[in-house]
Amino acid sequence: MRANASVPLIRLSGVTISYDRAPVLSDVTIDVTERSFTGVVGPSGAGKTTLLRAMLGTVKPASGRVTRTGDLAVSYVPQLETVNWNFPVTVAECVLMGRTTGRTLPWASRAEKAEVHGILDRLGIAELASRHIRELSGGQQQRMFLARALVRRPHLVLLDEPTSGVDVSTRHEVLHLLADLHADGIGIVLTTHDLNGMAAHLPHLICINQRIVAAGTPAEVITSTVLEKTFGARLEVLQHLGMPVVVDDHVLIPRSALVTDGRHDLEAIPPNGRAAAAGTVRVAS
């Protein structure tokens, strides 16, 4: 952890980003610190990934400024869908990619092997080190990329849709893992369109739809007014076990399609197996 953890690692000041003159993000101001454990929430096309890219410095703002501390080590975890899972690499080889800079020799040193094993062990996938990456489940693939991010010893990890395309229990696992990393002093910023999953795990949310609609705790941000501005649809918010739960007024799913673990909110499993934008839905009688 750094000496002053409240000093911004990355500061976006009035940032506007356009692709082919069409604005994707407008006038965005955000501070990211080592204490950040933030979810960026918004619909598809809201500019979530672009916001991460602005933080990473891979897109240049049309106006505004992005400033980073000089010695910042930031790791990026991509969406699972963007990866060529047929690529011929093992889990250990993939994790070692995080150590590309700094050593010229192609093979891993003894210290690197020990570090990779230690991180994989911590993430609970050490026994999968020699497996091909395609042989992993969605949750294990996410852990592998987290391991690759951690092997760089980052101050900050940015994750693009880490809960997309994984089942409910994996989603909880991934978010618990991120909470552990945050407790160790690593800043976490992730994007998602999964409102209810984030409300239960993240202390800070930013709702965006090309511009920042609202930022604050889940209780402050998850309101019908904010969500309507963010998603462009009327969403009802209920309180369940002290947490805001979002109900999509427009979706009716038969009770037989719902599952529950008895303690948490009901979750819908759509036909395509992916989590719905607003996880909890009304039950058709």
């Binding site: 899972w85 047929n86 011929p88 080889e93 070692l96 990619m97 590309t100 192609p106």
Partner: protein, 281 residues
């Protein structure tokens, strides 16, 4: 059998040919791993045609130094393709289609009009070992050494930039520089093997050993040496086949590669094919 193998070795031209074919196959097999995994097979195909244009144009200026002209032309074409592709204004296939086919057409026009002062038209297109000079062999050895050193020293960056260029870029890997260096190596590799394999067949030797290696292994490191060895084997076997069948060396080297592919397919079946499913053109 042994006599059949030893008999051609009595000829100096065959000894040279065997050395050059083996080195060419190994070189293209090694580079081909990156080319196929990056979905750049079409670039290899296009670049060999672009270099043919440079070969034809530069030999009109200096028959003795046409290799330099063709090399500069090839590297220029490769960097132009990389630049256009990175900007993503038009697709890579369109950029390759325009730049390389125009260059190839120019080469054919120049050779048709002015004739060849260097290697013959046919040997440039289909490969021939008869006209290989000591200087060309030295050039091929130098390119092989340069490629081996490049792959050894830049292995980590090449692997990361090939697997996940976006994340590699934000992780401090100089992806643009690595890509450009790979394209220069590819151009030099095609140029050095042009007279052995031939313009029209170089692309096949960039693809076949790498695809067969992918069918046989899940490990990147193993794929690298396997593809290199298979490429060299295709070169050596193809040379013997070329000698006995009395057809151009490049043709027999590629046919040997094709036979290897069919054999690997028969051995691995659907499992091998599935592994290559995401190797894009």
């Amino acid at each position: 059998m042994i006599d059949s193998l030893l008999h051609p070795l009595g000829f100096a031209f065959f000894q040279k040919g065997l050395l050059v074919a083996g080195l060419s196959g190994a070189l293209l097999g090694l580079i081909g791993v990156y080319i196929t995994l990056r979905g750049m097979s079409y670039i290899g195909h296009g670049l060999s045609h672009a270099i043919f244009g440079g070969f034809a144009a530069s030999q009109l200026i200096s028959a003795a130094h046409y290799v330099w002209g063709a090399g500069i032309w090839g590297i220029g074409s490769a960097l132009a393709i990389t630049s256009v592709t990175r900007r993503r204004r038009i697709g890579a296939d369109a950029a390759i289609g325009v730049i390389t086919t125009a260059s190839f057409a120019l080469g054919v026009a120049l050779l048709s009009h002015f004739g060849s002062r260097g290697p013959s038209f046919d040997s440039a297109l289909f490969g021939s070992i008869l006209g290989i000079s000591t200087g060309q062999i030295a050039g091929l050895v130098a390119v092989c050494a340069l490629t081996a050193v490049f792959v050894f020293l830049r292995h980590r960056a090449l692997l990361f930039a090939t697997f996940d260029p976006d994340v590699a870029d934000v992780s401090g890997v100089p992806v643009a520089r690595t890509d450009a260096a790979l394209m220069v190596i590819l151009s030099l590799g095609i140029l050095a093997t042009l007279t052995v394999i031939g313009v029209t067949l170089v692309a096949a030797m960039l693809v076949i050993p790498a695809v067969v290696a992918r069918m046989l292994t899940h490990s990147f490191a193993r794929m690298l040496w396997l593809s290199t060895v298979l490429g060299a084997a295709c070169g050596l076997v193809g040379m013997y086949a070329s000698y006995y069948a009395e057809v151009p060396s490049g043709t027999m080297i590629v046919l040997t590669g094709a036979a290897l592919f069919v054999t690997a397919l028969a051995v691995t079946g659907g499992r091998g094919l599935r592994r290559t499913a995401e190797l894009r053109a």
